[in-house]
């Protein structure tokens, strides 16, 4: 007989600074935990095949595809979603820059773009265009052609509001 885990697993995940305790199926993906259990629907499921990174969140400070991590693997870790970027109703400078520079059209990929841009600028406050292109190379946008997204990230890098 092979052992079989069928029960739910308790996890404790800090999401946007708030500790969340839950019991989840071992097979549950992190993105579904974030969207369905926590109701944070800013994190989008774009492709569900690990290609598009619309579901990007930060786990312990690094951008990951929330559709390619199990919720149980986030136990004890810190997650930052797009909802965690703004503070006290004020948009984050990256969000402001995307607004000002029209770094989106339909907006579906935008949460993931914002999180990848945030991860990049957190490590490198003055990236070159090449570094920006590399930094968001995992995120697919089917509307913009990326030019205005790159300009948005450049504007965010120049912002004094950080």
């Amino acid at each position: 007989m092979r052992p079989r885990v069928t029960g739910r697993v308790p996890i404790s995940v800090t999401v946007n600074g708030v500790k969340k305790e839950a019991e989840v199926d071992p097979r549950l993906l992190l993105v579904h935990f974030i969207r369905e259990d926590l109701g944070l629907t800013g994190t989008h499921v774009g492709c569900d095949t690990s290609n598009c990174s619309s579901c990007a969140v930060l786990m312990d400070g690094r951008a990951v595809k929330a559709c390619t991590v199990l919720a149980v693997q986030a136990d004890g870790r810190e997650i930052l979603t797009v909802e965690g970027l703004s503070r006290e109703g004020e948009l984050h400078p990256i969000q402001e820059a995307f607004l000002a520079k029209h770094g989106l059209q339909c907006g579906f990929c935008t949460p993931g773009m914002l999180m990848s841009a945030y991860a990049l600028l957190k490590e490198n406050r003055h990236p070159t265009e090449e570094e920006i292109r590399k930094g968001i190379s995992g995120n697919i946008c089917r509307c913009t052609g990326y030019v205005q997204i790159i300009e948005s990230v450049q504007q965010a890098a120049r912002s004094k509001k950080w």
Partner: protein
């Protein structure tokens, strides 16, 4: 068994794999070190690609590993994807296996019977099949320690970021004073059922001048002959063999530059 999960979770979602039990090894301590010992560069199997990409030691002395770490998946994949997973998965489309073949690397397996080191050239048995026993896990990846006059390069042609390679080539050389190619290792990605060690091409180049452009062209041709690509959306076998020839010649040139030799 799940480490970075960047190959396995997509397989689970597509129902191409449905294990009844999944063991997460991410919390095993001590498997994410990058260090040099007397004989080897040793990389813990759980080391993320991003850590490899950032390692100054690897960039300086093991540039083919650095090259590969920059082109595997995309930045988000590299934040979780591990060097051990890229190798133990046994996918011929993965980039690190050919780099290990070129560098003459060893894979360290641990199981109930203890620890053993398996040469990279004996490790890749067939597609998604490697020399690990069912009760063993890969704990460490190691390559011979850098020596003066050595250089390497990994080149990959991909249609878009995060796609598998149309073809990839890893070349490692050691040049003697005067520019003779003393040692050479060549590994090929995505052009056969496993990563391929291009032995005939290696034998051809050993002892020849690295600056002999006719010899380097023949090196590429021989490596292409040893490849066995299949027809898919990335191209025909004929096209892919031409890509292999070009990538091997170019990677050889870059490896020699990095080794400090004139080409």
């Amino acid at each position: 068994m799940i480490a970075g999960g960047q190959s396995l979770i997509p397989l689970l979602k597509l129902r191409l794999a449905s294990p009844s039990l999944l063991v997460d090894i991410n919390r095993i301590p001590g498997l994410n070190r990058i260090e040099e010992s007397e004989d080897f560069l040793r990389i813990g199997a759980l080391t993320r690609m991003t850590e490899i990409e950032k390692s100054a030691l690897i960039k300086e002395h093991y540039p083919s590993i650095h090259d590969a770490s920059e082109v595997i998946g995309d930045p988000l994949v590299r934040n979780l994807g591990t060097v051990g997973g890229n190798i133990a998965h046994g996918d011929p489309n993965n980039d690190m296996p050919s780099v290990m073949l070129a560098l003459g690397g060893e894979l360290v397996a641990v199981g109930p019977a203890g620890e053993r080191a398996i040469k990279a050239r004996d490790f890749f048995l067939d597609t998604i099949t490697v020399a690990l026993n069912h009760d063993e896990i890969l704990t460490e990846v190691r390559v011979p320690r850098w020596r003066p006059g050595s250089g390497g390069c990994y080149l990959k042609l991909e249609q878009k970021v995060a796609d598998f390679a149309t073809a990839g080539a890893a070349v490692q050389v050691r040049l003697a004073k005067g520019g003779t190619c003393e040692e050479i290792g060549i590994g090929l990605t995505a052009v056969g059922p496993t990563a391929i060690k291009a032995r005939k091409a290696e034998d051809w180049m050993r002892g020849k001048l690295a600056s002999d452009s006719a010899a380097v062209q023949e090196l590429g041709r021989l490596a292409a002959e040893e490849s066995d690509p299949s027809m898919d959306l990335r191209g025909s076998p004929v096209y892919k063999k031409r890509v292999v020839a070009l990538l091997v010649s170019r990677a050889f040139g870059r490896a020699c530059e990095r080794a400090g030799g004139a080409t």
